[in-house]
């Protein structure tokens, strides 16, 4: 295929992907309350954002939920990945693997509805849990576990199983092998899984809407309810702040990851050369 055509095609796709984000950022500095008409540069929407206590409370709630649900996701996701990669044969393995991919492929509305109906039945029997922070947390952790499992599984598959065997030959107990060999090797994958599930939770509106109770509105829920009513420049300001934070986090984590990867390769090379001497 033609090279110039290829380059043009790629540029067009990138423009398509980035145009909305760039517009959001530019118009967050617009003085006019009409979101789409540019008058002059101003920070008034950032001032409005700083005074918007509803939105700020929602941001805190979202951060809390995202942090804890990401921790839970990485925990259960790692278990799932180990169960599916380390044990090739056990009764119900197919069931586990299809259950773990259910949240990935099911539309959000179905995951949300089914979880809510389960929690309502549970509450009917046990008087627990009340709809609110905990139920949103569970929903996000379920979705996150499925994603974390994929990330950790792909890392486990490319990991050299001989390292574990070597540790066992040298007399490590299974848990010691995990703590001293597998876990350090897995760490970059766990960090990516944490970041991914944090973002998923911070972004979710459908599951939260189903699972939240009165008084618990996450940031996406507040933004969604405002966006339904019409255009609102404060949303542009929120968007710009989130984009700035996310970009910094993504760049920092990719620097960290490439550094960790280089460090790991250096150590492996060092170990081989030590062994050969």
């Amino acid at each position: 295929m033609n090279k110039a055509f290829g380059r043009a095609w790629m540029v067009m796709v990138y423009i398509f992907l980035y145009m909305p984000i760039v517009t959001l950022v530019i118009y967050s500095f617009n003085a006019s309350p009409l979101v789409t008409v540019w008058t002059e540069a101003s920070l008034r929407w950032y001032v409005a954002l700083a005074k918007d206590s509803d939105l700020i409370a929602a941001v805190w709630l979202s951060l809390k939920i995202a942090f804890f649900s990401a921790l839970m996701s990485v925990f259960f996701g790692t278990f799932t990945a180990f169960a599916l990669t380390r044990y090739k044969r056990f009764p119900g393995r197919t069931l586990l693997s299809s259950m773990s991919s259910t949240p990935l492929v099911m539309p959000d509305v179905i995951v949300g509805l089914s979880l809510l109906l389960m929690l309502v039945s549970l509450q009917h029997w046990l008087g627990f849990p009340e709809r609110g922070l905990f139920t949103i947390l569970l929903g996000h952790a379920l979705l996150g576990t499925a994603y974390a499992a994929v990330v950790v599984t792909s890392r486990l598959q490319e990991m050299d199983g001989r390292l574990d065997e070597a540790a066992m030959d040298l007399g490590c107990r299974p848990f010691q092998v995990f703590r001293l060999v597998t876990l350090p090797l897995l760490l970059p994958a766990l960090v990516s899984a944490f970041l991914l599930t944090f973002t998923l939770s911070f972004d979710d509106v459908v599951l939260s809407s189903f699972l939240s109770g009165p008084g618990y509105s996450t940031m996406p829920m507040v933004i969604f309810s405002r966006a339904r009513l019409g255009l609102n420049p404060t949303i542009n300001a929120v968007a710009t702040v989130t984009i700035a934070v996310v970009s910094i986090a993504v760049i920092a984590s990719s620097i960290y990851q490439s550094r960790a990867e280089r460090q790991r390769k250096r150590e492996v090379a060092q170990a081989y050369s030590d062994a050969n001497q």
Partner: protein, 301 residues
């Protein structure tokens, strides 16, 4: 005695816990909830709660199945039309994503090796910023006095604003925009592993570049095409946020109907029945996707 303790310490934990923990987690949060949806779809609404399916008469349990929701679902043509139109929009989205994403992934896989990680990162980066905010941004772009219309009018290309918002067009733009990366990533993963020697062999045997593309490249990337299409089609069928923000009153989507049955009409059995039929609709594409995934895993190991 010590032998038994040693045996327990070495054998009881590990395997059972590693398998048991995720099993219970997914059983409780993924499998049982879906069974409850099935159960509630076969009940009826009694003022504020759902009727119980099992009643006790003279010490014997009797199971009462109520098909009212399904009967209503099949007799009211609105539901049928909505399912059909959801599938239609999801299908069109998938085809457009494939048409844009395939050439993109192809060119990306052919670009200089040292640039590829950056190109890939640029595809993933929007994914890290809020999906909701990006959909909202399209609203800013597409409303009548929005950015696109303003630019076109000031350039003198059009005189009156084009009505884009709340139409099938704006819905499709939002869907293609959101799901394009899901199409590109598996396609790129597949095309970047394509053995160039096959293409060289075809060229040596005198095949034209176009025929080579059609007869060699496309068949070899079938797995990527299937994975990408399923990753776009399945979630697109049940999409709620995009039609709610960018669609109009006449762009029917089943995710929105489910939401309204639940939140506006408070009809849990009806919402559940809508969900059950939706699951049946995406079961086939899901099975294809799962089979593809397990084939991939087997090929890897």
């Amino acid at each position: 005695m010590t032998n038994i303790f040693n045996y327990l310490r070495n054998h009881i934990p590990g395997r059972q816990i590693v398998i048991g923990v995720p099993y219970l987690w997914f059983l409780l949060l993924a499998a049982i909830p879906l069974l409850i949806v099935l159960k509630i779809s076969l009940s009826e609404m009694e003022s504020t709660s759902v009727s119980s399916m099992i009643s006790w008469t003279q010490g014997w349990p009797t199971i009462k199945l109520n098909f009212a929701s399904y009967i209503f679902l099949s007799t009211d043509p609105l539901y049928f039309e909505t399912y059909l139109s959801s599938i239609k929009y999801a299908l069109v989205t998938t085809i457009i994503c494939l048409a844009i994403g395939y050439p993109f992934a192809y060119f990306m896989a052919r670009s200089p090796k040292h640039l590829q990680p950056m190109l890939l990162m640029l595809i993933m980066l929007p994914f890290w910023t809020s999906f909701l905010l990006r959909i909202y941004a399209w609203k800013t772009l597409m409303v009548n006095n929005g950015v696109i219309n303003n630019v076109l009018i000031s350039l003198g290309i059009i005189n009156d604003p084009i009505a884009m918002m709340n139409t099938p067009f704006s819905l499709l733009v939002g869907m293609v925009y959101s799901y394009l990366p899901f199409m590109i990533l598996p396609l790129y993963a597949n095309l970047s592993k394509l053995d160039v020697r096959y293409l060289e062999a075809a060229a040596d045997l005198g095949t034209s570049p176009f025929r080579t593309f059609w007869l060699v490249t496309i068949p070899l990337s079938k797995a990527g095409i299937i994975a990408g299409s399923m990753l776009v089609f399945i979630p697109a069928v049940g999409e709620y946020v995009i039609p709610e923000l960018l669609g109009g009153p006449d762009t029917l989507m089943i995710g929105r109907v489910l939401w309204d049955e639940f939140f506006s009409n408070n009809d849990w059995p009806m919402a559940s029945a809508v969900a059950v039929v939706m699951i049946l609709l995406i079961l086939l594409p899901m099975a294809i996707f799962n089979k593809y995934q397990s084939d991939q895993l087997e090929a890897k190991s």
